[in-house]
């Protein structure tokens, strides 16, 4: 049985992952044409490359259909409840960095902290008759963060893209979104709360639970880790 390694199938994340493994003596490449989602591995035996969407990698790892996977640490935390009992971080890879943050309009000069956000949420609900809306696609991470910090009287509204625009469109009052430089937020007239950092994400190599692994798969992981640690 081979060890299946899941890698994002597209774009910079894939290229940087290939480079990261190459720096450690393992060559990953797409086999056949550029449009084909099949891969090959050189430099180590017993590892099979599987190319798939970064967003599906947490689920596939959890289901045991792949054994190792590269994806954003934010996606694992968002998609797997109690993630740290289901997958293990093997290596933080040092790229794909992005922060999940809470941002509000620049004009909210009275709001800089979660404490302010909570007070404004209470007043907003009293004024408007509904709970202050925060647009995000990271429901679990945002909800857990706000609960841990005692913020109440808000609601999450789903936004799968162009989240920064929801406030201008009056479908949300605040956003919780991924940003690497903050540029898009600033360009849309938004500022980040000073204590509104929910998670600093980066590309990470994870492994799933080993309970159904064969001895050969375990040995392959040991050899792989020797490469990665070298």
């Amino acid at each position: 049985m081979t060890l299946k390694l899941g890698i994002p199938s597209k774009g910079r994340l894939m290229e940087k992952t290939f480079q990261w493994f190459a720096d450690r003596g393992i060559t990953l490449r797409k086999s056949g044409s550029d449009r084909e989602y099949a891969g090959a591995v050189d430099g180590i035996d017993g590892v099979e490359l599987v190319l798939l969407s970064a967003g599906e990698i947490p689920r596939e790892l959890d289901a045991g259909r792949i054994h190792l996977g590269v994806t954003g640490s934010d996606l694992v935390r968002e998609k797997l409840p109690a993630w740290d009992s289901r997958v293990v971080e093997l290596a933080k890879m040092g790229f794909g960095g992005a922060d999940l943050v809470i941002a509000v309009p620049d004009a909210w000069i009275d709001v800089d902290t979660l404490d302010d956000l909570d007070a404004v949420a209470a007043a907003f609900r009293a004024d408007h008759g509904f709970r202050l809306r925060i647009a995000t696609k990271y429901h679990r991470l945002v909800r857990d963060f706000l609960r841990d910090n005692g913020v109440a009287d808000y609601q999450l509204v789903d936004s799968q893209g162009a989240t920064e625009g929801t406030i201008r469109n009056e479908t949300a009052e605040a956003v919780a979104d991924i940003t690497s430089t903050g540029e898009t937020l600033r360009a849309n007239g938004l500022k980040i709360l000073s204590d509104g950092m929910i998670h600093a994400s980066q590309a990470t190599l994870f492994r799933g639970r080993r309970k159904d692994w064969t001895q050969a798969q375990r040995d392959t992981l040991t050899r792989l880790m020797a490469h990665l640690d070298a």
Binding site: P81, A82, S85, R86, P105, D106, A107, W108, I109, D110, D112, T113, D115, D116, D118, A119, V120, A122, A123, F124, D127, H128, R131, H139, R140, R143, D144, L146, R147, N149, G150, A152, D153, Y154, Q155, L156, I167, R168, E170, A172, E173, G189, L190, S194
Partner: protein
């Protein structure tokens, strides 16, 4: 759950319900699917981490009932007349997002009393009824009273805005303490707030206003922040009393004495403490041994959001690591929220037969 265990659970549930109907409770029921709006309005976004959500093409977002209390109160407020006593039996559904192996659906039997003639007597009736169902089960009761905490906060010598902020977070002890520390002047004003308030006219260079929150609402909050900054801190003496109150954890007679002592300097709690004394008398009248009954002032503060008076739970041996076998309390304010402004005094409790079996070592 095995077939045998399931049979045992339902048999116990029916036996409890027979007792409750025999003492006059009216059998009632609730739909499995409840409108999500009502639950979200009551509990906030956190309910999504606890309740299963599904979608109805016509009615919109629905939740598998996480408890019976809300629909039973709605039914009563719409059609019921006081006094009323209800019982229900059925499954409730809770997500276990922390990945634990606790069940996501379990059978509950409930008893709810809508009767304002004598609150202490109604509290004691619900407690004693559940205690009766558990008379052969090795469980230990604990009690508390959210009403005493509420009275203490409402009586603080500070601004109405600060009292309202503390009341709002009574259920979130960490947030509550952070707020209290700031209102007591124990923590510094955040630098961003100090800088804002140092400006003569913070609105002069206001960036373009985006979204529904208006310039006027921003201006009003700045006024509120100025008023808050000008308010005197809550005194160290009041803070000590509040801390002493939250720490009360004794058998009921000693707790009552301790609370009476605190009430000398914090008279706002006197009426609520009188209510506790009356409840203990009513419990004694129902043959509950109040001399050994635990009273914890902070009981139910993290888990029982809609209770606003008497709260209680019956727990098995801690070594078994079970949730409370039975819980309940008074929820007058919930009836006001669900009744559209008119409320009725209400107290109730639930028992979980599968946990009773586990506590008895029957499984």
């Amino acid at each position: 759950m095995t077939v045998d265990a399931s049979r045992d659970t339902w048999a116990r549930a029916r036996a409890y319900q027979d007792v409750l109907t025999a003492q006059g409770a009216v059998l009632t029921d609730a739909d499995y699917l409840q409108p999500a709006d009502t639950l979200l309005d009551l509990y906030g976004e956190d309910i999504r981490a606890r309740a299963f959500t599904t979608q109805d093409p016509v009615r919109g977002e629905m939740m598998l009932r996480p408890d019976f209390t809300v629909p039973i109160v709605q039914q009563h407020m719409a059609h019921g007349a006081e006094p009323a006593r209800y019982t229900y039996m059925g499954k409730v559904f809770r997500k276990q997002e922390d990945g634990g192996d606790r069940p996501t659906e379990f059978v509950q039997v409930g008893y709810e009393v809508f009767d304002g003639t004598d609150r202490a007597a109604a509290d004691a009736e619900v407690f004693a009824t559940l205690a009766g169902l558990l008379k052969d089960t090795p469980v230990t009761p604990a009690t508390g009273d959210i009403g005493i905490l509420r009275a203490a906060v409402q009586g603080l010598n500070t601004t109405p805005a600060r009292r309202a902020a503390l009341m709002r977070h009574l259920w979130r002890p960490r947030r509550f303490k952070t707020l209290l520390d700031r209102f007591c002047g124990l923590t510094d004003t955040p630098t961003s707030r100090a800088a804002l308030l140092a400006q003569d006219d913070p609105l002069a260079d206001l960036p373009p206003v985006l979204g529904l929150r208006s310039r006027d609402q921003i201006a009003r909050r700045i006024d509120a922040l100025r008023a808050d900054a000008a308010a005197d801190p809550i005194s160290g003496g009041e803070r000590s009393l509040l801390d002493a109150l939250l720490a009360v954890r004794e058998t009921a007679p000693f707790a009552l004495t301790a609370l009476r002592d605190i009430a000398v300097d914090l008279p706002s709690i006197s009426a609520a403490v009188d209510g506790l004394a009356a409840r203990l008398d009513a419990l004694s009248a129902r043959n509950i041994d109040v001399d050994t009954l635990m009273f914890e002032a902070s009981y139910g503060r993290t888990s029982m959001e809609y209770y606003d008076g008497f709260v209680f739970g019956f727990s098995a041996d801690p070594a078994l690591n079970l949730p409370p076998v039975a819980t309940g309390g008074r929820y007058d304010a919930l009836t006001t929220v669900l009744g559209g402004g008119t409320g009725v005094p209400a107290v109730g409790g639930v028992i979980r037969p599968a946990l009773v079996a586990a506590a008895e070592g029957a499984l």
